[in-house]
């Protein structure tokens, strides 16, 4: 009896063990689910990060995919959406493991995608693009997406950063909506006197503060000087950038920013602005949908204007912060590159134009003949500002290499906390690495 028990136990254990091992090894194909089944239909996987409640793309994407799937029975798309920060970790991990989906969203490109482009994880699509496709893009777009003369992505939306002002609070304080730096200081003083927080920064996340400095630097030195400094970081240590850092500190010391900025996150900043707790916010037009949402207390009271120009600055108000190309990429491990690129072109153009009309972002595609009467005033003004653009500089943390971008953001936090002087700030900026992108 005992011998039998022993035997049967070891058999059970052995089976269990083998089963658990098999369970580990069966799913080795992971995210690579491209298969060609008997009917000759191709299945492609798509990963994106559009899942937010007020994100217009989250509603549009399933519609666009459904339409494509019904029109192309031979190329079927399967979509997986994951929320922002988690998406970043997810896509980085799967790219590193060569298990990326066929088509995926690549955030704002730049230094986020650069390591994967260099290591060959991303498919080059230059040869697939016909002049016809290029001609349907907005002017300048086909150049903007090139990396060393090669194309890896197609544009969907463009975002540009502008100053959002709460006109109700400005009226209450008797302040004038600023068009110059002096007027801005003046408005800060009046708003403070009326007990209104002049501007909100969610500095806990550090990039909202970076937007302020970067814009100030661009107004002070002009876009050309900034582009030069990206290529040769020693130029960060020049009088213009010192003056920009000094202005940033001057604003902070004048009480322009909320006292709680270091404990306020980006989301809390949006919440506070939409609740009418601050008169100004410098952000990109992705915040439009939230401000115009029925739940917002400032709906219809907010104006979007170009950042004030500086009397002593070289930058003009047509030099724009933003214009980063946000788009989808095709993985190099896809088994059906032709079909994937075909869908990429369809998706980018459809999402780009329909998303523009839904308020998700500014168009990267030709929008002649579209009915834009349904656009909100904020979207319309942002589009108007973009039309005046003479030059663009994208988000600096996407232009600088990843570790330099972190240093840049940390230095600005120190500047805001009055931890370092403008001179010291610029000396440290000069230690950054040059950009790896071709500007």
């Amino acid at each position: 009896m005992k011998a039998l028990l022993k035997k049967s136990m070891s058999i059970i254990l052995a089976v269990g063990l083998a089963g658990s091992l098999a369970a580990c090894s069966s799913d080795s194909s992971g995210g690579k689910t491209t298969t060609k089944d008997g009917s000759g239909s191709v299945k492609l996987t798509l990963w994106d990060q559009s899942v937010g409640n007020t994100d217009p793309s989250a509603k549009l994407l399933p519609q666009i995919i459904e339409k494509w799937n019904s029109e192309h029975p031979d190329i079927q798309i399967e979509r997986t959406g994951t929320t922002g920060e988690q998406y970043k970790t997810k896509i980085k991990t799967s790219l590193a493991a060569s298990e990326a989906p066929d088509i995926f969203y690549g955030m704002g490109g730049g230094s986020f995608m650069q390591p994967y482009i260099e290591s060959g994880n991303v498919l080059e699509i230059t040869s697939y693009l016909t002049d016809d496709v290029k001609s349907r893009m907005a002017p300048g777009m086909s150049e903007a997406i090139e990396v060393d003369g090669k194309i890896y992505t197609l544009p969907v939306y463009t975002h540009i950063a502008n100053l959002f002002v709460n006109t109700e609070l400005f009226d209450k304080a008797g302040a004038k909506i600023p068009t110059t730096y002096t007027e801005m200081l003046d408005a800060v003083e009046k708003l403070n006197a009326a007990g209104i927080t002049p501007a909100l920064i969610g500095e806990k996340d550090r990039w909202p503060g970076m937007y302020w400095y970067d814009m100030i630097a661009m107004r002070q030195a002009g876009n050309d000087a900034v582009t030069e400094a990206f290529k040769d970081p020693s130029k960060w240590d020049s009088p213009e950038f010192v003056a920009a850092a000094a202005k940033m500190q001057e604003l902070a010391k004048a009480g322009a920013f909320n006292k709680s900025m270091f404990s306020m996150s980006y989301d809390e900043m949006l919440g506070a602005f939409n609740a009418g707790n601050g008169a100004m916010m410098f952000q990109a037009n992705w915040v439009n949908a939230g401000i115009e949402d029925p739940s917002s207390a400032v709906k219809g009271k907010v104006k979007v204007i170009p950042f004030p120009v500086f009397e002593d600055g070289k930058g003009k108000n047509t030099e724009i912060f933003g214009g980063a190309v946000d788009g989808f990429y095709v993985s190099n491990t896809t088994e059906h590159p032709k079909e994937a690129v075909e869908f990429l072109m369809y998706l980018s153009e459809q999402l780009g134009t329909q998303g523009y009309l839904a308020g998700a972002g500014l168009p990267s595609w030709n929008i002649d003949g579209l009915d834009t009467s349904g656009l909100s005033t904020l979207d319309q003004s942002a589009a108007d500002i973009m039309k005046t653009a003479t030059s663009f500089i994208a988000w600096w943390d996407n232009i600088l290499p990843a570790d330099s971008a972190e240093t840049h953001k940390n230095l600005i936090a120190q500047l805001l906390a009055d931890d370092i002087t403008p001179e010291e700030f610029c000396k440290q900026m000069a230690q950054l690495k040059p950009t790896e992108l071709s500007l």
Binding site: T89, S263, A272
Partner: protein, 289 residues
């Protein structure tokens, strides 16, 4: 059944599945991380072998040293504030007071709540604009003390320690309470007959007999302090200006924000070694005493 357990092969078969899982999800990653920590690597492509340079950088970089200092302070706060507090609560509960079960449950509730929820809760308590703490201070006439607790360099560290200390007081209390309860009632009765006061009983009988459980609590609380991540990450993200940064949050930003997998791995290996060394020291300390 006895013959099954005396059979070495059977023991091996029983242990094997767990051993395999332990190896694949604990041991192997540790060795892989140790290897990565010797590389200059961005996570994709090829890494360059740079020997111990990552470790050298860690011990010369003021940001990394500051994070280590913070975790040491945190460990000290756990030992000298959290554990004594747990001990006092445990002793009071174990001395058969009214509503013992009720208080035990109440103090243990924070342990059951997810750390992220706790962090969100406390960030609302500390909030500078509508926080409970500032509101309380203002309503008792101390509005000059109201401040941005998590946003200032001189208050952020202490403010972020308090929630973690608070959260795990209940956990250590329960361990100690169980330890105190397991002491035989005969000894207490004898002490009572001898006329020992409650405090005297606690110091001369209960605490000395709780030594094994106190050692366990000490090890858990020190290791917990070195590993703390989620609460700090949600509460402050290591800010403002790195004042609340601990090695684990530094590791996260190094790997996922700056793409420095090699340096990040070096920090993770340091955390493992730090925990091992302190566990050994604590064990030695309890043996010699």
């Amino acid at each position: 059944m006895n013959s099954v357990f005396s059979n070495k092969k059977a023991i091996a078969i029983f242990v094997l599945p767990t051993l395999l899982i332990f190896c694949t999800i604990v041991l192997v990653p540790i060795f892989v991380s140790s290897y990565y920590s010797l590389l200059d690597w961005n996570g994709v492509g090829k890494g360059a072998f740079i020997g111990l340079d990552n470790y050298k950088e860690m011990f010369t970089d003021t940001r990394a040293l500051n994070s280590i200092k913070n975790s040491m302070l945190f460990a000290a706060a756990s030992i000298f504030i959290q554990l004594p507090l747990s001990l006092v609560l445990a002793l009071i509960l174990a001395s058969t007071i009214k509503g013992e079960g009720f208080y035990r449950t109440v103090y243990f509730i924070p342990v059951l709540i997810s750390t992220v929820v706790i962090a969100q809760l406390w960030s609302k308590i500390y909030n500078a604009d509508y926080g409970l703490l500032n509101w309380l201070l203002e309503s008792i006439g101390l509005s000059n003390l109201a401040q941005d607790w998590l946003g200032q360099k001189d208050t952020a560290l202490v403010a972020s320690f308090i929630p973690t200390l608070w959260q795990y007081v209940g956990y250590h209390m329960l361990l100690m309470y169980a330890g105190a309860k397991s002491i035989s009632q005969d000894i207490f009765e004898a002490a009572k007959i001898d006329g020992a006061s409650r405090i005297r009983t606690a110091f001369s009988i209960t605490i000395p007999l709780m030594r094994p459980i106190l050692k366990v609590c000490l090890v858990f609380s020190v290791i917990g302090a070195f590993k703390v991540f989620d609460l700090i990450y949600v509460l402050t993200g290591g800010g403002p200006l790195f004042t609340t940064e601990v090695p684990s949050t530094l590791m996260y930003t190094t790997i996922f924000d700056t793409y420095r997998y090699g340096y990040g791995s070096a920090i993770s290996v340091f955390i493992i070694l730090e925990c091992l060394v302190f566990t050994v020291i604590i064990n030695k300390f309890f043996k010699t005493e």
